[in-house]
């Protein structure tokens, strides 16, 4: 049998960390305590490698009610509190895509619920390795990637649809690096009256601690599987941790029961059970209130017999919440849970003095200072710029034009990164709750809020390829693109949340990518007035030493008054002017044209001027407020060519574009210069539009006119609407193996 000293290494704790635990306890930790420290001090729970960088992010602003540190960030929108949270479930989704994606939703929904908000919208930023159709990876790898897409989408569909929270946006992107490690991020938005925000605080010694939801089982003890197999000298198959399995039905009941408990005024404090299970929820909520807690493990409703006490403490069984209630309210709280058919029991009480005391049928299992579990080590890990950065930047992309610009445009429209993802979002209920004013397939989702004169717009964005080439600039682009998407529907961006997906932080190159990304994100958020309300860090996204592109994903929220009508992305009227807000330069570096058409990952990431980004966003919002435009569309991947084609397809009408005499044709069409929008408006409003843009120091240029049933650009491009539409709308389903 191994000694505790050996055990700590197997659990992923360093010798220094172990000594620190001994110092805190003033004795050797027992096995259960060691298990608790190991999960709570893990990278996932403690943010030990990222914390010193994250604290540099701007997190305050006039609209921020609750910043980083709670289950979800909260912004004020009118009289309402809007909660936002973005999480990752990358590794589970690689192992078991359906359940991995499903339980990812469950987790982020409970985060939002834990601050007192009703979850009202979900978004899924997803990254996969290329599909077989692209021919970029070996056939078996492509098939595996397709299987993962299929499974993840089904898992989201199954779980999200069942809990009755609409999935209204997200992204699906493909890069070679994600073959060994897909990214399954999920964002949840919730809403609550401002006065009903709740906190993860176990206030009031003597108050009762309720555990409600699913019963506790052995699922999700994977992080400490070594404990189960080695330390206890027992490798029984039935003790092996099982994959976490989602139960969306129970989640739905949990949502309703928790909201009823809150509405009845019974909740003193509330916290979800996520990573590290009961260990985390009990210690964090106690520590947040400067209290301790007495927990009786025998009172925890269990799914199976013979569980070890430490297993109960660190089990990550899904669909559970911890609620602190006053003693006099305990009975009533239990009866509400009973009404919803949920298992619930009083598992302990809040105690003064700051110690977390865990007992099981009278014997002491753990006795530690509650705050010590959340007060893990903090590391300033070494950073080192990778050698490849300069080589990649020097790569030549797109000096010579393609033979056939029309064919190239169709190839881009068919590419999995650009083609319509309706095959994906048609599997998601994006309408339930009757709040979805602007549906998936647009630049940002627009959601109306119950009894409010305000609406919110939300977009998730992230460009791993840019971040691979230049993490500082790439992260800025993520913020800027989200800002553009939210502005394109007429909303004023007010805050972001993030999910930072990176490789192994113990490698200095990865840590450099992380530090640079955080620095870039912070500067962009500062410049654009969108503070960071919190976020999530997912490290160790790599397989066999090959890391993913650094992929910071941004979820941005904007607000707009109810009487401002979000314009469609599609062109509307024969004869309308098509104009470009913003300037086009030679920015093919790192772009979709370079990747998909030339097969090159390289070049310089487009320069981004945050002042221009803000100016152009403000101008576009103003044009929308004044009702001057017929359509707006963010111009990004695939440049003007793809953007105009999308506006034709969405509007069911053609366009003729004018020639540009400064840039080479393919550069003008496919360059991805930032801060641009393609807008259309009636000729009669031309003067007003131009005056407004020029008066705001913005740049606008007429690039064509709406009309006919073809997309025409000089003698080079002449594509009929039917071909454009079929290519754009059918390619993704076909790439997934569904011919329609």
């Amino acid at each position: 049998m191994s000694t505790p000293e050996d055990l700590h290494r197997q659990l992923g704790l360093t010798d220094e960390e172990y000594e620190r635990i001994e110092g805190i306890l003033e004795r050797e930790p027992n096995r259960a305590e060691l298990a608790m420290f190991s999960v709570m001090w893990s990278e996932h729970c403690s943010y030990k490698s990222s914390r010193i960088h994250l604290k540099t992010l701007p997190s305050e602003g006039p609209d921020i009610l609750v910043g980083p540190g709670e289950g979800a960030g909260i912004v004020k929108v009118g009289d309402l509190a809007v909660a936002l949270r973005l999480e990752s479930h990358n590794h589970p989704s690689f192992v078991e895509p359906f359940q991995g994606a499903a339980t990812g939703i469950g987790g982020v929904v409970r985060d939002v619920l834990s601050v007192g908000a009703r979850p009202i919208a979900l978004f899924d930023p997803l990254r996969f390795g290329p599909l077989p159709v692209e021919g970029r990876v070996p056939q078996t790898v492509g098939e595996r990637n397709r299987f993962l897409v299929e499974g993840v989408v089904s898992g989201i569909s199954s779980y999200g649809n069942c809990i009755g929270v609409p999935t209204v946006g997200g992204e699906v992107k493909f890069e070679d690096c994600y073959s060994g490690n897909p990214l399954v991020n999920v964002m949840c938005i919730g809403v609550a009256p401002v006065e009903r925000i709740h906190h993860a605080r176990a206030d009031g010694p003597g108050n009762k601690v309720l555990l409600l939801g699913s019963k506790t089982g052995r699922d999700g003890i994977g992080g400490v599987s070594v404990l189960a197999s080695a330390s206890f000298g027992d490798d029984d198959a039935d003790k092996r941790p099982s994959v976490q399995v989602g139960d969306p039905f129970t989640e739905k009941l949990l949502i309703e029961a928790c909201l009823e408990l809150m509405e009845a005024g019974l909740v003193v404090g509330i916290q979800d059970l996520g990573g590290a299970g009961l260990s985390c929820a009990t210690s964090e909520s106690a520590a947040n209130a400067g209290n301790g807690m007495k927990v009786n493990l025998e009172a925890v409703p269990r799914r199976e017999q013979g569980m070890e006490p430490f297993e109960v403490l660190i089990s990550e069984s899904q669909e559970r919440m911890l609620v602190i209630v006053e003693e006099k309210d305990a009975e009533r709280a239990l009866s509400i849970c009973d009404k919803w058919g949920l298992a619930a029991s009083v598992i302990g009480e809040v105690a003064a003095g700051g110690r977390l005391e865990v007992t099981d049928n009278g014997s002491i299992i753990a006795d530690v200072p509650a705050a010590s579990l959340g007060d893990g080590p903090i590391y300033d890990r070494p950073i080192q710029a990778p050698h490849w950065i300069e080589d990649l930047a020097r790569q030549e992309v797109g000096a010579s034009p393609p033979d056939d610009l029309g064919k190239t445009l169709l190839e881009l429209l068919a590419a999995p990164n650009i083609a319509s993802k309706s095959w994906v979002w048609e599997q998601f209920d994006h309408q339930v709750m009757l709040g979805t004013v602007v549906t998936p397939g647009h630049d940002a989702a627009v959601i109306r809020l119950p009894s409010s004169s305000e609406r919110i717009a939300v977009s998730t964005d992230g460009n791993g390829r840019y971040c691979y080439l230049d993490p500082f600039l790439g992260a800025q682009h993520a913020v800027a693109e989200a800002y553009r998407n939210v502005s394109a529907v007429g909303a004023r961006p007010i805050a972001i949340t993030n999910c930072l997906n990176f490789g192994n932080p113990e490698r200095p190159e990865v840590m450099w990518q992380f530090a640079e990304s955080v620095r870039g994100m912070g500067e962009a958020c500062m410049a654009l007035g969108t503070p960071v309300t919190g976020g999530n860090v997912s490290f160790y996204n790599e397989t066999s030493g090959s890391a993913i592109y650094p992929t910071p994903v941004v979820g941005m929220v904007g607000v707009m008054p109810r009487d401002v009508i979000p314009p469609p992305i599609g062109f509307q009227n024969e004869g309308d002017v098509i104009a470009l807000v913003g300037m086009t330069s030679d920015d093919l570096g790192g772009g979709e044209y370079a990747r998909t058409i030339l097969g090159k990952i390289g070049g310089r990431v487009p320069r981004l001027d945050l002042g221009t980004e803000a100016t152009n966003g403000t101008v576009v919002r103003r044009l929308i407020e004044l009702g001057l435009v017929s359509s707006t569309h963010d111009c990004s991947e695939g440049g003007i060519g793809v953007t105009v084609a999308e506006s034709c397809i969405a509007g069911g009408i053609g366009a003729s574009l004018e020639l540009d005499d400064e840039l080479a044709p393919h550069v003008w069409l496919f360059s991805e210069s930032p801060s641009r929008y393609v807008i259309s408006y009636p000729e009669s409003r031309s003067d007003e539009v131009i005056e407004l843009v020029a008066g705001s120091n913005g740049h606008i240029a007429r690039i064509g006119a709406v009309g006919g049933n073809e997309l025409i650009w000089g003698p080079e491009i002449r594509l009929d609407l039917e071909t454009l539409t079929a290519t754009y709308k059918r390619s993704f389903a076909e790439a997934m193996g569904y011919a329609r």
Partner: protein, 236 residues
């Protein structure tokens, strides 16, 4: 004139009940929730079984909910001639409870589908379609995995003979083509009516097509019809 009283049954796992209540209130009716453990439905003019995943759709869609305490009251209410609408999961429950014939199978494409579809009004001689025009085409969203209606040949011929098919999936110009059928439903059936004519089951969600800000207004005619019918009953 008193407002029609609409009761919306809430099973554990229902998730469209708030939308149905919103839609009826938007149209001027009184609407409130009925928890599935309740058994008193007196005072209601219309009962609605909303969409969702009652009991998580475990075992089989609608199979467990069909045995909820409220269902005896729903059955009695229907027996007395009270109008009952089952939408999506509600339709599945009505089939499982024997209030409507047939069953809903998995969509032929084996995918959940949330898309707008067109349906053609097949009869106006019902309390649910009396305000519509014969052959009128309505655009209403569907949102389901199990919407593939099926019944045996004999039942189908009875449904057709007695004018009990309420809606069929159709193209925008009203043709009931195979391409317009989103789930493989027998004879493009999107909704059917009970033998006595007062129970409607339909897969599309009319409550999602009532508020013009979200999803259009084509569903309105169905709820308005049943509201008009119920106020006639109330006044009579």
């Amino acid at each position: 004139m008193t407002k029609p009283q609409v009761g919306v049954v809430v099973f554990p796992g229902s998730n469209c009940e708030q939308d149905v209540v919103h839609a009826f209130r938007y149209l001027g009716a009184e609407a409130r929730y009925i928890w599935h453990h309740e058994t008193d439905v007196s005072g209601f003019d219309v009962l609605v079984l909303p969409g969702g995943f009652a009991y998580g759709d475990y075992l089989r869609t609608g199979a467990i909910a069909a045995f909820s305490p409220i269902m005896d009251s729903v059955r009695a209410f229907a027996h007395e001639g009270g109008p009952v609408i089952g939408i999506c999961n509600g339709f599945q429950i009505l089939c499982e409870a024997g209030l409507l014939p047939g069953a809903l199978r998995r969509n032929t494409g084996l995918k959940f589908r949330c898309i707008p579809v067109q349906v053609r009004v097949e009869t106006t001689a019902s309390p649910f379609t009396s305000s519509a025009g014969e052959g009128q085409v309505l655009e209403i969203p569907i949102n389901h995995f199990e919407g593939n209606y099926f019944c045996d040949d004999e039942t189908l011929s009875v449904l057709e003979r007695d004018n009990r098919i309420a809606f069929r999936y159709c193209s925008p110009d009203g043709e009931t083509t195979a391409e317009a059928n989103p789930n493989g439903a027998l004879a493009n059936i999107a909704g059917i009516i009970s033998e006595a004519g007062n129970v409607l089951g339909m897969m599309p969600h009319p409550e999602r097509a009532i508020d013009p800000e979200v999803g259009g207004t084509d569903g309105e005619v169905i709820f308005r019809s049943v509201m008009a019918a119920s106020s006639l009953v109330t006044q009579g």
